[in-house]
Structure formats: structure tokens, C-alpha cells
């Protein structure tokens, strides 16, 4: 419909951007409702619901098949066409917002919120390790970061003193057991009425831990970034999103700032860092996907860049995720541009990629678009450069859900 409107208006331009670097396989259903309808969710901080090693891909999500929200994992070898099984990894009354990262071939580390605390456990080919408490009660929104040098960190939000602060801890994994390697440290000093939430994290090539997060202390939500060397405090935080105070007549500022939320952070093979987030600086159509790049390994980030193309401007974007690797970066999100006024067309998954010459035109992902809702994607790139995508599919925005996955094989290898 939007393409049609642009054609009528004489504004449509043919695509100038090269084709996708990936060839997409057919999607597979990982888990779906059977006799009892249930609901899957991919809503963790940093959208770390998928991770890939050189030989396997792992998915983590929450669903309520048991009658209560619990966290499940599924692992598939790259050579396999489907996920052979799903395993429950949480062991409390309720569990939410999981994250997963690879810690070597056939080994994964998962973390999630469980009964108000934050916990983690190792997932290996021969079974699950013990559950380790990372953050005590009133903790949530956990993310993980690991690299090829066995550096592992977790960040989570901890409610305290009438607010919420993010803390970070290095983790140690020995055999099937994960433990805190050092006491958690805060991202910044405690201030009056702190509110930090929804962190994202990644290791820079030189061993610094890069972090980004939401902060509400100014009376509206801002995004910040920082970093730390191992064992050191975090560097002073800098704002990641450019400040846009709404302006009224005569250009006078009339508000504190436009909305931003849910930052995602990734590093590519060359050590460049990129973030994406949802940003409502253009208020007429809701949130859009914006981002920023760092060419100095995450010490600083450049000007904000719009990630989506102009065809997405008329609708809201949701659930933005970014991944980095051999081919550069890929961002994934969902929006309703294909038929924005039709309630029966509630969303499709789109991706854009960036190999150094700007974000591509958006691609409706084959197999993750079309009838019904296909959204809430999370994305990763494996060491070979293949793209792996997981998302939620449902007939409409109220119906039971299916968890879907597909691979995009990198072209030219």
C-alpha cells in the first residue's frame, strides 16, 4: 500500500542497493502450541535470544506451556534441518527475559530472571549445569557478553533505593558450573532517583567491555554508553542518542526529549561497534530504528543514523536487534509497512545490513513475512558469516504463538 502511494505520488525510486548477501533457507517451527495454546516471548534486554558457534545455533525464549512462564532452550547443528528438542532450563516458579551466548563449541551460557532474581547456568551437550544466582531479589533485565578469549560478563538491573541501577560482573565457567568471578560493580555512582534499565553489552577486540543502557533520570528516557577494562570501574558515561527536545512555535523547546528505548549492541569481525535502538524523534509515526557506529572500538560513537529505509517512515518499528560478524552488521525488526491500515496485517520481519557503505534498503525476510504476525526478531551471525534469525509467529496479535527460525547462508563461500 505504501509503495503504491509513493508510485502515485511519483516518489518511488528503484532500489539502488545490492541484493542481500544471504540466501535464506525455508523457516522451521521450533516450538508451537499443541493441545493447550500457549505464548512464546522474545523480550529480553539486548535481544540476546539467539547465539551461534561454528557448529551449532542455540535459541532461548520464555513460554507458558506448563501453565507458568518458564525459559526453554533449543540447539541445532548447522547441518541439521530442525531442532530435535526443547529443554526447560529455568527451575523456579516463574522465569522471564532470557539471554544466551556461546562459550565454546557445544557449550552455551544462559541467564534469565527467575522469581525476581537473576540466575545463570551452563548448557552443554551432556546436560545442564547447576543454576547460579547472579543477582539477588529485585533483579531483572540480564544480558551476557562472551568472546573467544573466554571473557564472560553479565549485566543486570537491580532495584534499590527507590530506583534501579545496572550492575556488571565478570563470570567464571569451570566445567559445567558458572560463578561470579568478582562482586558486581555498578555502571555509575548512585545518584538521587536512579533509573537505569535494559542494558546491552559486548566485548571489544582489545578486551574492554562495552555497555549501553536506558536512563530515565533526566525526566525522559536517554541512552548512554560506557566501557571498562577488566577489574576497573566503568569510564564516565556518554549519551548515545542525540537529544531532540520537542519544539513549538518559534522553535522554542517545549519538552525534555523524544522517546528512545531498547538498545542493542554488537561488534563485527573488524572490531567495529554498532548500536541500534527504537527512537521516536519523528513523532508522526511512532518509533523508528536508529543507530550509531563506533570506529574506535567503542570508546566513542558517531552521529546517529537512521537504519530503516524511507519506506518504513509511515509506520512504527518495533523490536530492533543488531548482530555483527564477518559480513559486517545486520539489523532486524518488525513493522507493518506492507499494509499499515489493515488490522489483519499486524507485522513482518525486516532486515537491513551494513558492510561499511551505509545501511541497505530494507528486506522483508522471506519466510518471516506475509499473512499474520511475524515479529519480535532476534538475530546473530555465526563465524562463517551465516545469518540466524528467530522470531514469533501468530495468526493475529492475540492468538497463540509459534517460535520460528531460519538461516541465511552467506553467498560466495
Amino acid at each position: 500500500m505504501i509503495r503504491g502511494a509513493l508510485l502515485v505520488g511519483g516518489l518511488y525510486l528503484p532500489s539502488l542497493v545490492s541484493a542481500s548477501p544471504w540466501t535464506f533457507d525455508d523457516p522451521v517451527t521450533v516450538a508451537s502450541h499443541s493441545e493447550r495454546p500457549y505464548f512464546h516471548h522474545l523480550d529480553g534486554a539486548g535481544r540476546m535470544h539467539i547465539a551461534a558457534s561454528s557448529v551449532e545455533v542455540a535459541l532461548i525464549w520464555e513460554d507458558d506451556r506448563s501453565g507458568a512462564p518458564q525459559v526453554y532452550v533449543a540447539v541445532k547443528p548447522h547441518s541439521g534441518k530442525s531442532f530435535p528438542r526443547t529443554d526447560q532450563v529455568s527451575d523456579g516458579a516463574e522465569a522471564y527475559e532470557p539471554a544466551i551466548t556461546t562459550i565454546g563449541e557445544h557449550r552455551w551460557l544462559a541467564a534469565w530472571e527467575q522469581d525476581g532474581a537473576v540466575v545463570a547456568r551452563v548448557i552443554a551437550a551432556d546436560g545442564l549445569g547447576p543454576v547460579c544466582l547472579l543477582g539477588e531479589k529485585t533483579s531483572r533485565q540480564v544480558v551476557l557478553a562472551s568472546d573467544h578469549s573466554e571473557r564472560i560478563a553479565a549485566l543486570w538491573a537491580h532495584q534499590q533505593r527507590g530506583g534501579q541501577l545496572i550492575v556488571s560482573a565478570d563470570l567464571r565457567v569451570e566445567a559445567d558450573k558458572v560463578t561470579l568471578a568478582a562482586p558486581p560493580v555498578p555502571l555509575s555512582r548512585l545518584t538521587d532517583r536512579p533509573y537505569q534499565g535494559f542494558p546491552a553489552a559486548a566485548w571489544a577486540a582489545d578486551g574492554r567491555l562495552l555497555v549501553a543502557w536506558e536512563d530515565r533520570r533526566a525526566g525522559h528516557t536517554r541512552l548512554f554508553h560506557s566501557w571498562r577494562d577488566s577489574g576497573q570501574p566503568f569510564a564516565p558515561a556518554h549519551q548515545l542518542n542525540q537529544h531532540f527536545a520537542p519544539t513549538g512555535e518559534e522553535g522554542k523547546h517545549v519538552g525534555l526529549g523524544t522517546g528512545v528505548m531498547r538498545v542493542s549492541l554488537a561488534i563485527d569481525e573488524g572490531g567495529m561497534a554498532r548500536t541500534v535502538w527504537l527512537d521516536k524523534r519523528d513523532a508522526k509515526s511512532g518509533y523508528a530504528v536508529w543507530g550509531a557506529a563506533s570506529h574506535d572500538g567503542g570508546l566513542s560513537f558517531g552521529p546517529n543514523q537512521r537504519v530503516q529505509d524511507a519506506l518504513g517512515d509511515a509506520v512504527a518499528q518495533w523490536h530492533a536487534s543488531v548482530a555483527g560478524g564477518k559480513p559486517g552488521f545486520v539489523a532486524a525488526w518488525d513493522d507493518t509497512r506492507e499494509d499499515w491500515a489493515d488490522p489483519s496485517e499486524p507485522g513482518d520481519v525486516l532486515v537491513s545490513w551494513n558492510s561499511g557503505s551505509g545501511w541497505s534498503d530494507d528486506l522483508l525476510v522471506p519466510g518471516a513475512s506475509g499473512e499474520g504476525y511475524q515479529g519480535s526478531p532476534a538475530v546473530t551471525i555465526d563465524p562463517r558469516g551465516d545469518l540466524h534469525l528467530v522470531w514469533i509467529e501468530r495468526d493475529d496479535l492475540s492468538s497463540p504463538t509459534r517460535l520460528r527460525y531460519l538461516r541465511g547462508a552467506i553467498d560466495g563461500d
Binding site: F39, D43, T221, V254, L256, W318, S398
Partner: protein
Amino acid sequence: MRRFAFAVVAAGASLMASMLVGWPLFAAADPPKGWQFLPFDQAWTLAQQDQRTLFVYFGRHGCPSCDKTNRESLSDPRVKAAYQANYVLTYVDSESGDRLRLPSGERITEMELGVKLKVFGTPFFYFLQPDGEPVARVPGYQSAEDFLLLDAYIKDGHFKQQTFADFKANQS
């Protein structure tokens, strides 16, 4: 819900315009003071139990037009009296990760409720029947008079015959 699609499209432009004019510096966005907004789960349970219409106010922390709505419209005692009498009231922070439970049993965040209901800006007001069916969705700043007209539109069942825009035009 389809009948409101056109209203939403038309309202998008007015929402943008309304977000660009007329608010003071240091606006905050929280529920208006003195109103009895309930947590979403509790509100929906009460709406079902009493067979009353649910009024959902989607706001955002720092939203200037929410602040304007609170100060100029929801502070009007006529609006407050009508809405507290006729509706079960709930406030949803459209950027919040706090959780709520839908009547289907699905547990989602306040932000995800906004995704489901296509809340593309704030403030955004929904009137939901006790079974969850939306009967009106109204984006952007509304004056006290608009809120009173909306109350008449919902309470007297005009939503069954016409859009709010048509109803409003017929009143003038």
C-alpha cells in the same frame, strides 16, 4: 476495530502537530494526580467483574503532550467525575518493562501491550469493552471538551453507529 483505522490515520497528523506546540519545559509523563488509575491486571479484572468499559491511558515518561493532557484536560473536575464514574481506569507506560497479564492468560510487558494495540505515540487512549474488544482508540492530546464528548460517545453507545470524528462533527 477496523472502523477506527481511518480515524487513526487522520489523527496521526494531528498527534504530530499536537506534540509540537504548547508545552512547558520539564514536562513529565505519569498518571494525573488525584485520579484512581489501577494496575492493568486489576483494572481488567474489575471491568469484567462489573461489566464496565475499561479506559486505558498510554503515556510515556517525559511525554510533553501527556503532561499537557494531565494539566489542562484531566484536571477538569467534570472530566474527572465522568471518567471515574463511568469507566475502570488504567495507566500504561508505553516504554515500561513491567509486566501485566492479559485476559487470555498471556503475560507481557506494558511496552508489548502498546505493540499489540498499535500505540504509535503518546498519549493514546483506548476504550475497551469488558471482553477486550476496542470500541474507540484516540491518539494525541484531547481537550477537556473532547474528553467529555468521548464520554458521551462511549457511554451512550454512539460508537455502534459512527466514528468519533463523525460524532464530534455532528455536535457542532
